[in-house]
């Protein structure tokens, strides 16, 4: 199957590959997997105390569409508030990368990775300031 030019661009020249230290301040880590194809995706977000995503890194083992979806997402979320990032739907990724129907699950994975990374950040933040009241989700 031929990949779209946007997928190819992210696949051959992925943006923001790598990782932050898991325990680094302000870092949220999300690891999500797709059992039907064996793919696994790690997305890390560096988030300010005000809840703005300052930087992102990813590492994905999987097909070109999974790599492209996560690479695109790292660009997409930078500078966004966590509420905005949480509102990102996989359909946006599908549209941007022209993903065919059989690859839609790759975009779902990337959407799940954002949510998992933010929830990890919130959890870690909560543990750090456990005397503070929990913020409503």
């Amino acid at each position: 199957m031929a990949y779209s030019s946007k997928v190819m661009s992210h696949y051959t020249n992925p943006r923001n590959v790598g990782s932050f230290g898991k325990d680094e301040a302000g870092v949220g880590t999300g690891i999500v997997g797709a059992p039907e194809c064996g793919d696994v995706m790690k997305l890390q977000l560096k988030i300010s105390d005000e809840g703005v995503i300052e930087d992102a890194r990813f590492k994905t083992f999987g097909c070109g569409s999974a790599i492209a979806s996560s690479s695109y997402v790292t660009e997409l979320v930078k500078g966004k508030k966590i509420e905005e990032a949480l509102a990102i739907k996989n359909s946006l990724i599908v549209q941007e990368l022209n993903l065919p129907p059989v690859k839609i699950h790759c975009s779902v994975l990337a959407e799940d990775a954002i949510k998992a990374a933010i929830s990890d950040w919130q959890k870690r933040k909560g543990e750090k300031g456990s005397n503070k009241k929990e913020e409503a989700a």
């Binding site: 690891i31 797709a34 059992p35 039907e36 083992f61």
Partner: protein, 199 residues
């Protein structure tokens, strides 16, 4: 083809029915083997070589169905997937989120496999390979646990101890975990195999 009279049977027989078995999830392998071989002999195309064309065709079709039934029902994983299908369910219809600790395990192993592929120093690749062999044990243990969980849920269903919707959700979860682990084991074994001489 009917095993008793040799006449054609309804084409809509499900795979449990093809082997003359009730639609139960727990299957004794020895019983499955025996039924497959007994029925296979009875409806074997050689026995109907001089029969009417319709009978010959029924024998061929029946044999094909029987073989498919045997292959699908023999393996608990494919049996579970088939059972979901009979109940109008598919793995892909579900939310495919896997437990975080399983995703983390897969990520960890895949990262090491990537390192092994990129290692140029023989000593480095040897120690990486040793580490991966150890990981393989962990992955296999997770697989054994998932298979035990599958067997337990099969029994629960047969004994009528499970609420259908929650059992279907549970089966989907376990079957997708098994699929994930199976792919991972395959990837590990592919990397650990000695390179072929022709390569």
């Amino acid at each position: 083809m009917c095993a008793q009279c040799g006449g054609p049977v309804a084409a809509e027989l499900d795979l449990f029915g093809a082997l003359g078995m009730p639609r139960r999830l727990v299957i004794e392998p020895a019983e499955l083997e025996q039924r497959y071989h007994d029925l296979g002999r009875r409806i074997h195309p050689d026995r109907f070589a001089s029969g009417a064309p319709a009978v010959k065709e029924a024998s061929l079709k029946g044999t094909a169905l029987l073989t498919r039934a045997y292959r699908v029902l023999r393996d608990p994983v494919s049996r579970g997937l088939y059972w979901l299908e009979l109940n109008g369910e598919k793995l892909s219809d579900d939310n495919k989120q896997v437990p975080p600790e399983l995703a983390a395990l897969v990520f960890e192993v895949q990262e090491q496999l990537a390192e092994l592929r990129e290692a140029s120093e023989p000593t480095a690749s040897e120690s990486l390979a040793a580490a991966i062999r150890e990981w393989r044990g962990t992955v296999q243990e997770a697989m054994d646990r998932a298979r035990d969980a599958l067997a337990m849920n099969f029994a629960k269903w047969d004994e009528g101890r499970a609420e259908p919707n929650s059992l279907i959700a549970e089966l989907k979860k376990t079957l997708s975990e098994i699929a994930y682990l199976r792919t991972l084991l395959r990837d590990i074994d592919r990397e650990l195999e000695p390179p072929s001489l022709s390569g």
